[in-house]
Amino acid sequence: MRNLFVLLWKNQFFLLFIILETVSIILVTRSYSYHGAMAHNTTNDISGGVFSMYSGVTDYINLKEDNILLAEENANLRNGLKTSFLLTDTQYVFRDSMFRYIPAKVVSNSISKSNNFIMVNKGSKHGIEKEMGVVSTLGVAGIVIGVSKNYSTIMSMLHKNMNISARIKKSGQLVSVTWDSNDYLYGTVTDIPSHIKLTAGDTIVTSGNSLIFQEGIIVGTIVSHNQDSNKKLSKAVLKYITDFGTLNHVYVIKNIMKVEQDSLLNQLVN
């Protein structure tokens, strides 16, 4: 027994190395899947505070482009106002709102890793919860996976576990959008049935099936589609409409009906 302890003590450097590596690998694999990443996220006000302090300095760099983007978006929104329509248009009816947009500012964003995250300066205090959709001023940006009091972390579209339900705009065909290209400009459209041929420029929008995004938010446009005659489902390359390289302002989408819809789904399951 004593010899065993002597042996262990002699090899303490190697043993400690093995222990620390094991701990690290466990930490890595724990958060590998979509749900793992959701459950073991380390969002907190300390790292959020450090990031937002820093982004307070660097914000001014993109101010000009941001202003143009926001002004264009404002113009689009004004086009949808009641006053922009003819008063004789009796079809215009106000319904109960179902989605609420929470504006947020990006404090940290990566695009060159294999799994990228965005951190924004709004958290549980502002009504943000896990699994809410996030859009940029142009289109889909990601899904919230971690929330602290003042900050939240978003799984960017540039994440290996990202998989959102989408539709081809012109035909309505359901497809999925994933990211396995390593290039922050391009994503992959999967599950395209063999009878569908996509052409460059076709728009891919969200399907509205997942309760996270409402229907019809633009994900991106098709760049190329390689039809494989042997396979039933083919893949296509998609260019994201959101420019993740200069992302600065995003909106978190709160689905007001989500609790009701979830409980309905749970009733069906049980």
Binding site: F13, T29, S47, S110, S112, K113, S114, M119, T153, D180
Partner: protein
């Protein structure tokens, strides 16, 4: 500033902050991702207790992970680097005498010596780091390219920083 413990703590804080705030947000075409906080581990004294070396490296890696949201990836790579460090020092500078508290630096081993030492260790660090980050060999050559380019850039930044901040000998 002459107390080695305080000097290393200051170095740790500054390097981690620069890593997390500047280099982790730097997006150079999706290929380049320099990790320069390893300089902290490279510059720890040569005669440091080896177990302490492992533990310090583990915490340095974990701190970077904590900010980047990639728990475990940097920790694993840093621990590997720390584990290989004593052997690398013996291999390259085996017949050299280091005084107590002295680290492998430009002054003790020269610029070429330091280049050899850092390029080998930074390479192993980034090799484990990038493959752990992907957790698959699907894009093997893409990832390998990333490792090579990032190792080059990291080493370049580390040596430039060393040159900028080294005290010149007054002769």
């Amino acid at each position: 500033m002459n107390n080695p413990i305080i000097k290393n703590i200051i170095r740790f804080v500054i390097l981690i902050l620069i890593q997390v705030l500047v280099f982790n947000n730097m997006n150079l075409g999706g290929y380049l991702h320099p990790y320069i906080y390893v300089m902290f581990i490279l510059l720890l004294p040569v005669n440091i207790n080896r177990s302490l070396l492992l533990i310090l490296s583990f915490f340095a890696g974990l701190t970077v992970d904590y900010f980047a949201g990639t728990l475990g990836v940097n920790a694993a790579a840093s621990v590997l680097l720390a584990y290989l460090r004593p052997g690398t020092i013996r291999l390259f500078f085996g017949n050299q005498e280091f005084t107590s508290g002295e680290s492998v630096g430009l002054k003790s081993v020269g610029i070429f010596g330091f280049f050899k030492y850092s390029v080998v260790l930074v390479f192993t660090h980034q090799l484990l780091l990038f493959y752990l980050e992907v957790l698959s060999f699907n894009h093997f050559f893409f990832t390998f390219n990333k490792v090579l380019l990032s190792t080059g850039l990291s080493t370049f930044i580390i040596i430039t920083t060393m040159l900028l901040f080294s005290k010149r000998d007054k002769k």
